[in-house]
C-alpha cells in the first residue's frame, strides 16, 4: 500500500494540544507524582513492564502527562528510553535469588519454606470501600505505624527459599529440555527473528501488553490450545541487580533492586514425553496474571499444535503495546487519498457494469 502525505492544520493541532492540557488539568486538585508512584503501584508496575523500562518515578510522570492512559504512558517511556545510552548489562540474575514477599503453589499444599500470601487481592471482597472517600491521611499514617509496630522482632529470618519445582526436577518428573546456552537475542536491538529463539520469546512476552497476554492465555486454556496449567510456584519479591565494576577487576557493583513476579506453571505431559511440561513466566513488578499468562503462552509455543497460541508469529507479533496501539491508532489519521482511490475504483466498477448492462 502506498501512502500520500498531507499538510496543513497546524493551528488546529496547536489548539488540540492546548485542549489536551486543559483536559489534563481538570478540577483544582493537582496529581502528586509521589502519591501516584507510591499508591498506584500496580499500574506503575504494568507500565514499566510493558515499556521494558524499570523507572517508577518516570512511569508516574508519564501517567500524569497522559491522563492515565497506559498505552500513551508506555509510548512516552519507550520514547524517552530511546534517548539514553545503554552502557551496562547486569550480571545474570536468577529467580531463585529473589527476596521473597509472596510465594504460593496451587500444586502443593506444603512447600519447603512455606506458602506466604503476601499482599494479594485474591481473598478480598470486591466491594467498594466508601470509607476511602473520606480517607484521612493522619489516620492512615497512624494505622501504618501501629501495623508496623505489631510485627514481632524475630531472629534473622531468611527471605529466600529454593524453588518448589526443584524437588520434581530432582525426582526426574519434569520434562527433559535441552539446555540453551546461546547468547540471548535482544529484540530492542534487532528485528525479532522467526522462528524466535527462546530468549526472544521470553523478552517479547515479558514486554507484551498485559491484556493481550492474558486474553491469549485464557483462549488457550478455554479450548483453543492444549494447556491445563497448575501453578507449581508463583513468587514475588525483588532481585538485587549488579554489574561488573569498570574500575575494580573482579568486583561487582550494586545498582538497585527490581520487583519481579515469576511463575513456573505445570502444563501436563505432551504425547510421547515421560515428564510434566513446564511453562515459564517472569515480569517486572507485581503482576500475577501476566506472569501466569506468560507461562501458559511460553509452553503453548513449544507445542506442535494448530491452535493460535502455538503460532509463533501470531503470538509474538501482535502483543506489543506500542506497536498494536500505534497501528490501530494510525487509522484515525488522514487516509483521504487511499480512501478516495477505493471510491474511485468502486465508481469505475459501477460505471463499467452500467455500461455493460446498457450494451
Amino acid at each position: 500500500m502506498g501512502y500520500v502525505a498531507v499538510t496543513g492544520g497546524q493551528e488546529a493541532i496547536d489548539a488540540s494540544i492546548e485542549l489536551l492540557r486543559d483536559y489534563r488539568s481538570r478540577g483544582d486538585v493537582p496529581v502528586d507524582l509521589t502519591a501516584l508512584r507510591d499508591r498506584m503501584g500496580l499500574l506503575i508496575d504494568r507500565i514499566m513492564s510493558e515499556a521494558g523500562l524499570y523507572a517508577p518515578d518516570y512511569a508516574a510522570l508519564a501517567l500524569k502527562q497522559c491522563e492515565g492512559s497506559p498505552e500513551e504512558a508506555v509510548f512516552l517511556l519507550r520514547a524517552y528510553r530511546s534517548t539514553l545510552q545503554r552502557n551496562y548489562t547486569s550480571c545474570t540474575v536468577d529467580g531463585s535469588q529473589m527476596h521473597l514477599r509472596r510465594r504460593i503453589s496451587s500444586a502443593f499444599k506444603d512447600i519447603p519454606g512455606g506458602q506466604q500470601l503476601g499482599a494479594t487481592y485474591d481473598y478480598v471482597h470486591r466491594l467498594l470501600d466508601f470509607s476511602l472517600e473520606q480517607e484521612n491521611e493522619e489516620e492512615v499514617q497512624s494505622w501504618k505505624e501501629q501495623f508496623r509496630a505489631e510485627t514481632e522482632e524475630t531472629q534473622a529470618l531468611s527471605d529466600q527459599a529454593p524453588r518448589v519445582l526443584d524437588l520434581l526436577r530432582q525426582e526426574g518428573l519434569l520434562e527433559q529440555v535441552e539446555e540453551d546456552t546461546s547468547e540471548p537475542c535482544d529484540i530492542t536491538m534487532e528485528k525479532l527473528p522467526l522462528p524466535a529463539p527462546r530468549s526472544a520469546i521470553l523478552q517479547t512476552l515479558t514486554r507484551a501488553d498485559t491484556g493481550f497476554v492474558s486474553g491469549l492465555a485464557y483462549s488457550d486454556i478455554r479450548g483453543f490450545g492444549m494447556s491445563h496449567p497448575t501453578i507449581g510456584e508463583l513468587r514475588y519479591g525483588w532481585l538485587d541487580i549488579e554489574v561488573d565494576s569498570p574500575v575494580e577487576e573482579g568486583e561487582r557493583i550494586y545498582v538497585g533492586a527490581v520487583d519481579i513476579t515469576e511463575v513456573e506453571g505445570l502444563m501436563g505431559s505432551r504425547p510421547g514425553s515421560s515428564g510434566i511440561g513446564v511453562g515459564y513466566g517472569c515480569v517486572m513488578g507485581r503482576n500475577d496474571t501476566k506472569a501466569i499468562a506468560m507461562a501458559v503462552l511460553d509452553h503453548a509455543l513449544t507445542l506442535k499444535d494448530t491452535g493460535p497460541t502455538s503460532d509463533m508469529e501470531f503470538v509474538l507479533l501482535h502483543g506489543d503495546c506500542l506497536e498494536m496501539n500505534g497501528f490501530i491508532s494510525h487509522l484515525k489519521l488522514p487516509h483521504y487519498v487511499t480512501f478516495q482511490s477505493k471510491l474511485d475504483g468502486l465508481r469505475n466498477q459501477k460505471r463499467s457494469m452500467g455500461h455493460d448492462e446498457e450494451k
Binding site: 540474575v93 506458602q115 524475630t154
Partner: protein, 143 residues
C-alpha cells in the same frame, strides 16, 4: 570490616541527602577530579529462566553513573534512578575508601552503622510478610 561489594549496596539503599552529607566533608576539603560527569544511563537486566536455563533480557532499568578521582584513586558509582547528586557523592565515597585520608574511617563506620539499620528494616519487613504464611488444610469433601 564490610566487604567492598556491600559499600555500593548501602549507598544505593540509602537516601540521596544521607549519601550527599556523607561525602560533603571530603568534597569540601579535597580536590575531586570528575572523570565521568554524573549522567543517566540504562542497565539491561539479564535473567536466567528455569525450563531450558536460557538467558534472556527482562528489560532495562534507569540508572545514573559517575566516575571521579580522589588522591589518585578512582571512584565509581552506578545507581538506579536519576539522582545525579547522590551518584556523584557515592563515587566520591567509593574513591575515599581506597585512600588513606583521615576522613575514611568515620565514613566507613557510618556505612557500617547504616548497613545494620538497613538490615534491621529488612528483617522487620520480612517479619511483617511472614505473618501472611498460610497452612491450607484439605477437607474430606469433594465437589
Amino acid at each position: 570490616m564490610m566487604e567492598s561489594h556491600n559499600y555500593s549496596k548501602v549507598l544505593c539503599q540509602s537516601s540521596g541527602p544521607w549519601v550527599v552529607d556523607l561525602a560533603r566533608p571530603v568534597m569540601d576539603k579535597y580536590p575531586v577530579r570528575v572523570l565521568r560527569k554524573p549522567a543517566k544511563t540504562l542497565v539491561m537486566i539479564r535473567m536466567r529462566e528455569t525450563v531450558a536455563k536460557a538467558q534472556f533480557y527482562l528489560g532495562e532499568m534507569l540508572a545514573c553513573e559517575a566516575m571521579v578521582e580522589l588522591e589518585g584513586k578512582k571512584g565509581f558509582a552506578l545507581m538506579m534512578g536519576d539522582d545525579t547528586q547522590k551518584v556523584m557523592a557515592a563515587a566520591v565515597v567509593d574513591a575515599l575508601r581506597k585512600t588513606d585520608l583521615p576522613e575514611k574511617e568515620p565514613v566507613l563506620r557510618a556505612l557500617e552503622q547504616r548497613k545494620q539499620e538497613l538490615e534491621k528494616e529488612q528483617q522487620q519487613d520480612i517479619a511483617r510478610h511472614a505473618r501472611s504464611k498460610v497452612q491450607f488444610e484439605t477437607l474430606d469433601v469433594s465437589y
